[in-house]
């Protein structure tokens, strides 16, 4: 096959339709960023709804926020930031060609990710089973503005739920590249997939960086 430049033909990771490895890498990274802006808009729709109702129902939003698990939320933020650190370190380790370090750091990332999901599950359990705060016919709320607080909880479950879904996907992706890294697939010559999964992981972290204040911190009273 007439596969172009000489320097490129030696790299087995180069796909046929790219001229050089550099072009392929740049395309992949740019593709990831374009994907991330679609994610911004995906969450953006929910942020818009949140913002509008906070504007309309300020008191109810404060009320709802006071019933968040403040401590679990804060701990979860720290957990997620730790996972971002291990992810960033993992990308660095791949770039340096440190196979074992990469795999170890990716395993830690997965661990932190699962810890986050576990804590989220504890919170959900408290809200749904113990406090009956899941919207719908079973919703119970003693205070004022209970209908609008129900909407607050709708946003809470929708936004943290979609975030958690992204975390689950993220854990899967990290597990996949950890396996590939373990097989020695990546190294200083080729690490785009690790970099891209890293970008995704950090993005999901950023979403939580905003969800945390918007749900846990808008009222100065923390009942839990």
């Amino acid at each position: 096959m007439a596969d172009s430049p000489v320097l490129a033909t030696h790299n087995p990771d180069l796909q046929h339709h790219f001229a050089t490895m550099e072009q392929q890498t740049e395309a992949a990274i740019m593709g990831m960023w374009v994907f991330l802006i679609t994610e911004i808009m995906f969450f953006g729709g929910m942020f818009a709804g949140y913002m509008i109702y906070r504007f309309m129902y300020y008191q109810a939003w404060l009320e709802g926020s006071q019933h968040m698990d403040f401590w679990w939320g804060t701990i979860n933020t720290v957990v997620l930031l730790c996972s971002s650190l291990t992810m960033a370190l993992a990308v660095r380790a791949t770039q340096l060609g440190l196979r074992k370090t990469t795999v170890t750091l990716l395993m830690f990332t997965i661990l932190f990710g699962l810890a986050f999901l576990g804590i989220k599950a504890i919170e959900y359990y408290g809200h749904i089973v113990v406090d009956h705060q899941f919207p719908g016919p079973g919703f119970r709320f003693a205070g004022a503005n209970s209908s609008q607080v129900e909407m607050f909880f709708s946003f809470y479950f929708a936004m943290t739920g979609f975030h958690a879904l992204h975390m689950v996907i993220g854990v899967g992706l990290v597990a996949f590249i950890a396996y590939e890294a373990w097989k020695g697939r990546y190294g200083a010559h080729y690490y785009t997939p690790v970099e891209n999964v890293g970008l995704y992981w950090h993005f999901v972290d950023i979403v939580w960086i905003y969800l945390y204040p918007l749900f846990y911190l808008i009222s100065h009273i923390h009942r839990k």
Partner: protein, 95 residues
């Protein structure tokens, strides 16, 4: 391309700053600032977002201008969505 490889110490420093900001935002959330609780919290969140984006995601080291344009465009479109829909809710009570 010539990838930028950050040092371990640098990444840990960024992480340390992020943790400090988290503790800070959690602490100031106890202050009774009324509507400014959320403002302060979002300002701190934006600082954290910038730290993650610039250094963990390496936006600061992206040599390709077009990728920066893509990112800015994404944020700008989010702004359009939030701002223009707010014009409606904001001005409904004016009449």
């Amino acid at each position: 391309m010539s990838a930028h490889i950050p040092t371990k110490k640098f990444l840990v420093t960024i992480w340390g700053s992020l943790i400090c900001l988290t503790v800070l935002t959690a602490a100031v959330s106890y202050l009774e600032l009324g509507r400014f609780n959320i403002v302060l919290a979002l300002v701190i969140a934006t600082c954290k977002m910038l730290l993650v984006a610039l250094f963990f995601m390496g936006v600061k080291y992206i040599s390709e201008k077009m990728t920066i344009v893509v990112i800015v465009a994404g944020l700008f479109w989010l702004f359009i969505l939030l701002a223009l829909s707010m014009t409606d809710y904001f001005s409904r009570s004016w009449v």
